[in-house]
Symmetry: C2
Subunit: 155 residues, 2 copies
């Protein structure tokens, strides 16, 4: 069944590809029947590997509303979000995620989403990305300072 918001996101993504402005992905943050913000992939044109459609839409929506949590809002995205964007979705406290293509569809088109999901299932030392731990005790002092802080704003 056609969903008007998903249709809008897909049209944005097609425009993005045709205009050569970035990868084949767009997303909308929606509250009720209102589009709060839209985003289309801009990784290569803005020199920003985090400029995925979902990240852009979330940042714009928060800026628009003056909030850092989007409770009460949904995300519509043309493809199952990658782990970076899923992390952002949890941190943003969105209500729901609607998506069209899957990580397998993205992989077939040359994108690393499925690979990164596989990597993140592994413990840090088993990943292809070398991860080296040091100074854990000193690092924990930052959390101690946070827990003792009277001025902290938890999120």
């Amino acid at each position: 069944m056609a969903d008007p918001f998903m249709q809008q996101a897909i049209e944005l993504a097609l425009q993005n590809v045709r205009a050569g402005e970035g990868g084949p992905f767009s997303a909308l943050v929606v509250r009720g029947d209102t589009v709060i913000a839209e985003g289309s992939n801009r990784v290569t044109t803005s020199y920003d590997p985090t400029a995925h459609a979902e990240i852009i839409a979330i940042r714009k929506a928060c800026d628009e509303l003056g909030v850092y949590h989007l409770d009460g809002c949904d995300l519509y995205t043309t493809c199952e979000p990658c782990p970076m964007c899923m992390g952002a979705i949890y941190w943003a406290h969105l209500d729901r995620v609607f998506y069209a293509s899957t990580r397998e569809d993205a992989a077939a088109a040359g994108f690393d989403d499925a690979y990164i999901y596989e990597e993140l299932r592994k413990p840090p030392r088993a990943r292809s990305m070398p991860m080296i731990q040091s100074m854990r005790d000193e690092g924990y002092q930052v959390f101690e300072a946070w827990m003792e802080s009277d001025t902290k704003v938890p999120y």
Copy 2:
């Protein structure tokens, strides 16, 4: 053993907590013996749930160098990166990640990193975040347009 870059990141994070500018996290992008960019958590002060230290440092480093891939650079971060930041690290093609605290340390201080890792291990339909798929065929047309495009810039 003390690592000067990690020590610098930890000092930045302590300053961030003391100044009330955001959460207890800082990160550096380093190439050779040069710090290319630094970032400290600004989620609550910039109204941006994606403003984690690593994301900020990666965005700044790419902006500084005019690139969207950071091959040849390492990331130093005061805490094991959350899934959002690990995704960004893979997309950014960083060489290595050095970290001090763990996701369990972060959880003990009230942060959701470990929880989000658990969620991302599950298939989309089994997560606490409702994920609803629709219009997969229409969504796939965006990838088809991408694969047929003569002007696309893969990344």
